[in-house]
């Protein structure tokens, strides 16, 4: 029975075991805890509720080689006209040569490995805080075997205008990369981050990524995630977010391609007066499988959350959405809005949508909804009757549907870039 699966896990762990980390005993201890946790965990099966609609065979049956630092030309992956600090992580290793940023007062920016060596206070306080003992094998794998990533800490009351653009790249074939970021916005700070997940060249590369966010009191943090992995590549990304009072956290996730993409977004709103925006767009083609699992946990009163995820699914692609919103007993006067809409462009495309609300408080305003359907034929005919071709009419309507999901991106040039990508992908 489970012997076969144990073997898969063993194979996985064997591939990762040569990794050496020369870290101090504190960080070594964290890794060891995760390794102990791993001994108890196994890859999900079809019976695991959390992974019910996403089969992991492609990921777990593959044999990987460890990612190595690499050097490539990144010019194609930069966002036109965007003024940003550029940080490059390749196969889980930070690349100082390819990165291009200026040091600014009030911002601590290093690779995660360098941050560990310097033992920053913020790092010790927040690193691994939100990811321990979650009983999730991919999270535990990253906890135990992550290589490197970005450490970004904004000091109290600093408003950082210029965004940070992280290029998180995998190269080669059958490469496993486990990147890891920690973002800290201290009290009253403001920062915008973009992270592009890209694959260059080969296939069957697997990126198991984790980002942690600590959003302190009165902080505004915007994270824009672009997943654009052509060919046959796999990614699992987990974001753990912790919000303090009066803070504002926005995440926009645009997934353009990916043979197997799974996003686990977990937001803990642990103080009052917070605003949380989580929006996503996914465009599936061929046999793409794109899965977004989100959790917003409202623990304290007077908070708002807005969630809109939209999918356009063509060919034999599959979109999965599972959005959970908890409103705990203390979280009175919560406004939680959640919506998932899918358009199927082919008879063989599938959408699995499950919005879930769990409310334990009584004075709340919550709504959720989910729609899956074809394009409105009446509207297509209306546009045609004005002289627009059927194809053009489809394009106008899908563009409108798709663009709507990412309205909250506040960086103008990024908006243009994504709109252009939507047009390109849909044409």
């Amino acid at each position: 029975m489970t012997t076969a699966e144990l073997t898969k896990k063993d194979t996985f762990l064997a591939a990762l075991s040569p990794l050496q980390f020369n870290e101090d005993s504190y960080f070594e201890g964290l890794r060891n805890n995760a390794k102990n946790e791993l001994a108890e965990l196994d890859f999900p099966t079809s019976k695991t509720e959390y992974w019910k609609y996403t089969r992991l065979g492609k990921i777990v049956n593959n044999t990987y080689t460890l990612g190595q630092p690499d050097k490539i030309d990144i010019t194609n992956f930069l966002i036109p006209n965007l003024e940003a600090h550029v940080l490059v992580v390749i196969n889980g290793y930070y690349s100082p040569e390819l990165s291009n940023f200026t040091e600014i007062d009030g911002v601590t920016l290093t690779s995660l490995s360098a941050a560990k060596k310097q033992g920053f206070e913020g790092l010790k306080k927040h690193f691994n805080q939100f990811t321990q003992d979650k009983k999730e094998i991919f999270l535990a794998l990253n906890n135990a075997f992550h290589t490197d990533g970005i450490y970004l800490e904004v000091a109290k009351n600093n408003n950082v205008e210029k965004p940070y653009h992280i290029l998180n790249i995998t190269t080669g074939n059958n490469t496993i990369s486990q990147s890891r970021n920690l973002f800290i916005g201290n009290v009253g700070s403001q920062v915008k981050i973009i992270e592009s997940f890209i694959n260059v060249g080969g296939e069957k590369n697997f990126n198991n990524h984790v980002s942690e966010f600590f959003v302190a009191e009165n902080t505004h943090l915007e994270y824009n995630k672009i997943q654009d992995k052509k060919e046959n590549n796999f990614s699992i990304a987990t974001e753990q977010v912790y919000q303090e009072a009066n803070s504002n956290f926005t995440i926009n996730t645009a997934t353009f391609n990916g043979a197997l993409v799974r996003n686990n977004l977990n937001i803990e709103v642990d103080a009052s007066n917070c605003e949380t925006n989580l929006n996503g767009l996914y465009l599936g083609k061929n046999k793409d499988h794109i899965d977004n699992h989100t959790v917003v946990d409202h623990k304290k009163p007077h908070c708002n959350s807005n969630e809109v995820y939209r999918g356009v699914l063509d060919d034999e692609s599959t979109g999965v959405f599972n959005g959970k919103v908890f409103v705990r007993q203390d979280a009175q006067i919560t406004n939680a809005f959640q919506q998932n809409n899918n358009i199927l462009l082919s008879d063989n495309a599938t959408a699995n949508s499950k919005p879930e609300l769990e409310i334990y408080a009584d004075d709340v305003k919550c709504s959720h909804g989910s729609t899956t359907g074809q394009i409105d034929e009446e509207a297509i005919f209306y546009l045609q009757s004005r002289g627009i071709s059927k194809k053009g009419a489809l394009k106008l309507m899908i563009n409108a549907f798709a663009k709507d999901a990412l309205e909250r991106i506040s960086i103008e040039t990024l908006h243009e870039y994504i709109d252009a990508k939507i047009e390109e992908e849909l044409s």
């Binding site: 409105d376 009446e378 509207a379 005919f381 209306y382 546009l383 045609q384 009757s385 004005r386 002289g387 627009i388 071709s389 059927k390 053009g392 106008l396 309507m397 563009n399 409108a400 549907f401 663009k403 709507d404």
Partner: protein, 251 residues
């Protein structure tokens, strides 16, 4: 301009149009009247190219071309325009954006240069003034959240932007108050020329005080049962549709 000859059309095997004959020449205004359910909207849908309806017999010649052979978009590009009885709301697609696309697709079809930004904006300004359409509406999503009257004015605004040869107005007057009716009629009249033609479908004689028809036809049970001059509309108003119904009991 258009020659409809013995047109039969059905949906789900049910015959709705049972042999329509109608010719409209350039410069003319024709009114089609008739009780609810007689097939007026079906006729306009079939002419505009809605695929749900199957043409089982007959032919339609539009400006020398076989209209029924053209796709809906090509009919529009050839100069046919339908003002919908129930204009469709299209969330997220901007009125202006889609009209620009429509105009340029038509121009490409006619081997003409695309419209310049300046020329286009000038047109929008002029034509929205024609139907007193708030310029804010022109920038909103197509018909989304528009009142009934705004939707109808938006139809005439689009008609003005596309300058069609033949316009079919399907109950554009229904639900309009007298001021809105005057605005819409005024817009239609200003767009009239010796080179284009209009088919006005209406239920009420009221509209025909403003848009004066050269011919009036009564459509009943899928057929044109009576034709005449504008005085036929007045007679209809006086006698009511029961008059038509009783005369055509055998249908």
């Amino acid at each position: 301009m258009i020659k409809i000859n013995n047109l039969h059309a059905s949906i789900d095997g049910k015959e709705i149009l049972k042999g329509i004959n109608l010719e409209v020449k350039a410069g003319e205004v024709h009114a089609i009247m008739g009780p609810n359910g007689s097939g007026k909207s079906t006729l306009s849908s079939v002419l505009a190219g809605r695929e749900e309806f199957e043409v089982t017999e007959g032919s339609v010649e539009f400006d020398g071309k076989d209209l029924l052979d053209l796709s809906p978009e090509d009919r529009a590009r050839e100069g046919l325009f339908l003002a919908f009885q129930y204009p469709v709301e299209i969330p997220g697609v901007s009125n202006i954006n889609f009209l620009k696309t429509a105009i340029n697709e038509k121009r490409a079809y006619l081997n003409q240069e695309p419209v310049s930004a300046k020329e286009f904006l000038g047109m929008v300004k002029e034509k929205s003034a024609l139907v007193e359409l708030d310029s804010k509406l022109a920038n909103r999503s197509v018909n989304e959240g528009f009142s009934g009257g705004e939707k109808k004015r938006n139809e005439i605004f689009q008609m003005a932007m596309l300058s069609p040869k033949l316009s079919i107005l399907d109950e554009t007057d229904s639900g309009l108050d007298i001021d809105a009716l005057r605005i819409v009629a005024n817009g239609v009249n200003k767009l009239k020329s010796p080179n284009n033609a209009t088919i006005v479908i209406t239920h009420y004689q009221r509209l025909l005080d403003y848009i004066v028809p050269d011919f009036v036809h009564v459509l009943y049970n899928g057929k044109i049962v009576k034709s005449g001059g504008k005085e036929l509309a007045i007679e209809l108003e006086e006698k009511g549709y029961d008059w038509i119904k009783s005369e055509n009991v055998e249908l």
